[in-house]
Amino acid sequence: MNRAGLAALWSFWRRNPLQLFTLVAGLALATALWSGVQALNAEARASYDAAASVLGEGRYDQVVPRAGDGFAQETYVALRRAGWQAGPVLEGRFDAGDTRLRLVGLDPLTAPAGLGPVSSAGDTPLQDFLAEGVIFAHPGIAEALRGAVPDRVVADSGLPPDTAITDIGIAQRLLNRPGEISRLILSDTQPMGRPPLEEIAPDLVLQPSQQSADIAQLTDSFHLNLTAFGLLSFAVGIFIVHGAIGLAFEQRRAMVRTLRTLGLPLRQLVLLMVLELLILALVAGGIGVMLGYLLAASLLPDVAATLEGLYGAQVSGALSLQPSWWLSSLAIALLGTVLAAAGALWQIARMPVLASGKARAWAVASGRLRGLQGAAVAVLLLASALLTALGHGLIAGFAGLACLLIGAALGLPLILEAVLTLAQRRARGVRWQWFWADTRQQLPGLRLALMALLLAMAANVGVSTMVSSFRLTFVGFLDQRLTAELYLGVDSADEAARLQAFAAPRTDAILPLLSVDTRLADQPTQLFGARVGPSYSDNWTFIASDGPVWDRVADGRAVIINEQLARRAGLWPGDSLAITRDVSLPIAGVAGDYGNPKGQAVIGEALFRDLYPSVRATRFGLRTDDPDALRDALVDEFGLDPGQITDQAALKRFSLDVFERTFTVTGALNILTLAVAGFAMLMSLLTLAGMRVPQLAPAWALGITRRELGRLELLRAVILAALTLLVALPLGLALAWMLLAVINVEAFGWRLPMYLFPLDYARLGAFALLAAVLAALWPARRLARTPAAHLLKVFANAN
């Protein structure tokens, strides 16, 4: 019985391959976009986890130098003798041929338990690590390293990407830094009564674990943004699936009735339909997982570059296929199918056996729901407004965004219905009256595709407005901040002093880049000491300020903070900020700081040197009218390596490159979402074209030619797409505003000004209309070529 029932159900898809293709393709695309994004997130998180578990990043308290990137091994020995339980780490960049990698040296005997390589080789005991000079390397760099070092290299997939780990002695030799240590990792348990750090090593500072670079936390908002986009794409795909399933079930009402009259029990029938859908979902989900893998693999290099540029997070550029990822992707495909089919299955389950077998008039069915839909739209838009106005946190922001988008999507058919009714009333001539009435009749069948198109276009308008506004602001910000013509770094404080003496007569100004990582207002913050001058006072603009900002900062009477710190700590001009236990300063200004996840504060150079006398600047910005001559002098006369000097243009280029790559992924997902919506439109029109014959036959019989009917079909698609575009534009701008003013503030801590880009919107509109024409062309052509015999059949069947 089950086989016969399933065969009958399946025969529908066999006879309607286009609908089967729509269903499978819609679900595959939805799964691909969702699983692709999830693969990117999973790969990045796996890299963070590897860094945390193998290198202890963010897990343990650490002791780091106040300035510079290393200190003498003797200091470590002194600390050990004083009772400090610490493991030394030396870290540096190592060039293995063309491959630049991160080499980390550990002392396996003193490092906290659990740190170090978890070799997948499994046959390399600790003794080898200690005695025989083994280097564990991420598989991606192991081969390059083997060719560059005499030591034995073992590939270990548990390591973070581009990272090699070895005994500290080997690291000191390979990095050419004998007797040097970068930092100390402290064990969780320390003996009571040990002398304070300042006493033994005044040049070192304690960095609590929560203050360390917790990459996973910093990048959470980036991944949440990706997830939100993946979810939007998935929702657009599910719209297609919902439409395809709804239509198929509607067309199978007669079959369902027949099956039941022939003795197939209702419960069995519903179970068979569920089974049929699950099989389709597994097939489509499998295709979607493969497409998602390809999508993620192609986008991963850009994501990795973004994460490294924005957060310094190392993410593998190669994708690994995790079982949990493809299993969860298949699960989401199944869940999406169940969601999309639930309504249709519920209707079948409640359908009396003697119900009409004819597909219900879609217009009538939707008319009954219109009131309910209007109420849902009102509730969702109200919820969006409340969440935006009163909600806190990223989740509330995204919930507000979701309510806005779903509310607008549900409201679209109501708006279109109202516009078409008006057009019908105003139409002159019977032909146009028929056209508008017929378009209204088409609306219920096309509404899901139009809703998907609305979401895709609104997302496009919103995201492109956000990205373009961000780009404009960011370029302006770089011009403000990167005022020095040359930036350079030296290796030691002595060299820095010689450099300043050398450069002073050759430059207009020397800007030392003095900074320490600290905690202000309970937020991890980078504190800068600025040599106040025109480079700062002429260029920096403030979001909020109080009095002559730079004069007060130069005198050590005030502090400037960035927007991130201001918003997180709730501090604004006039409030006081404790810089150290003894020094508190009023806030004179809050400056925008784009592309930086952390808090920043700026005080005058003199005060900074008082508070942190041991911190010496080793990086400088130099102001000059002739950067080329200064660069030549620094290289030829002072003896600086050219690699230590960066000019302003290169720095800007690098920053903009990071920016552009950041939004490459967003742009790609944006285009894919629009493509999916275009596909939904095409499939809906194609499917409906097959059902249109009975509606068009009377018009044909009354004197409208088939060619004209085809042309009107094309016009109908363009009009509906244009009306949808008119709704998408304000919705997209509202979306952009929420992204800039709500989501960005919650995710990154800064608010961006919003700019409008009419030319971009016009281009999008043209693309959308072109897509609608292309989508309607084939179905319209089919209608225009419908044989007269098919049209006549309509009348034959009516008798």
């Binding site: 019985m1 086989r3 016969a4 029932g5 065969a7 009958a8 025969s11 529908f12 066999r14 006879r15 309607n16 007669a254 079959m255 009735r257 027949t258 099956l259 039941r260 009259t261 022939l262 003795g263 197939l264 029990p265 209702l266 419960r267 069995q268 056996v353 003697l354 077998g357």
Partner: protein, 218 residues
């Protein structure tokens, strides 16, 4: 007695209040016999067939088929009845449009687990459908579609065949031919037949005839 109906009642809610469609029907039918059910439109013929076929529930009364009172059966029980014991031929044919003729003929027998390929072929042959087996319902004329529906019904070897205006959609000549074939095959299988029809001519060809008027047997 294959079919025994006692004091059967059924009413529906209509726009002008409750409508009593069947007002106490008593009738019986022996195995192998044929019975015509005549009456005007709205007299309750289809409702009576739907109740006997387990497609609807009676308000009161009893329908006993082959010793089983079907009025107390749940949905699954009535589905089993339609699969194994009773089979219905509709005026609208109710073929499955996505299955070809051969699959449609075999379908109910497969559902009931009684599929016999030789019998299905023999029925197709007897009904002149051998050349149409690979076609789909939309490619057939009304008469051919009804013959497929009859073949499907008889392939499942039901004890009781119910037919609701089976030739109502066919012209007179085709109707007569289809009815001839149906009666011959029903007789051959030994099933009982209860057929609703408007036509006195068709009714006259069956063993017995009852007339329904305003929900009662006249």
């Amino acid at each position: 007695m294959l079919l025994q109906i006692t004091d059967l009642r059924k009413s529906y809610d209509g726009p002008e209040g409750r409508i009593e469609v069947l007002r106490g029907i008593d009738l019986s039918l022996e195995a192998g016999r044929t019975l015509a059910l005549t009456g005007e439109s709205g007299s309750g013929k289809s409702t009576l067939l739907h109740l006997v076929g387990g497609l609807d529930r009676a308000d009161a009364g009893r329908i006993v088929i082959d010793g089983t009172d079907i009025t107390g059966l749940d949905d699954a029980g009535r589905a089993m009845l339609r699969r194994d014991t009773v089979s219905i031929v509709f005026q609208q044919f109710n073929l499955i449009p996505s299955l070809d003729v051969a699959a449609n003929i075999a379908f109910q027998a497969r559902l009931a687990g009684k599929h016999d390929a030789d019998r299905a072929h023999a029925l197709a042959d007897a009904l002149g459908l051998t050349d149409q087996l690979g076609k789909y319902p939309e490619d057939l004329s009304g008469g051919q579609q009804q013959r497929v529906a009859i073949a499907r019904t008889l392939a499942a070897r039901p004890r009781l065949v119910l037919a609701d205006e089976p030739t109502g959609n066919l012209d007179e000549a085709t109707a007569a031919k289809v009815l001839d074939q149906m009666l011959a095959l029903v007789a051959e299988t030994g099933a009982a037949l209860m057929m609703a029809t408007h036509s006195p001519n068709l009714a006259a060809r069956l063993d017995a005839r009852v007339h329904l008027s305003l929900g009662r047997l006249a």
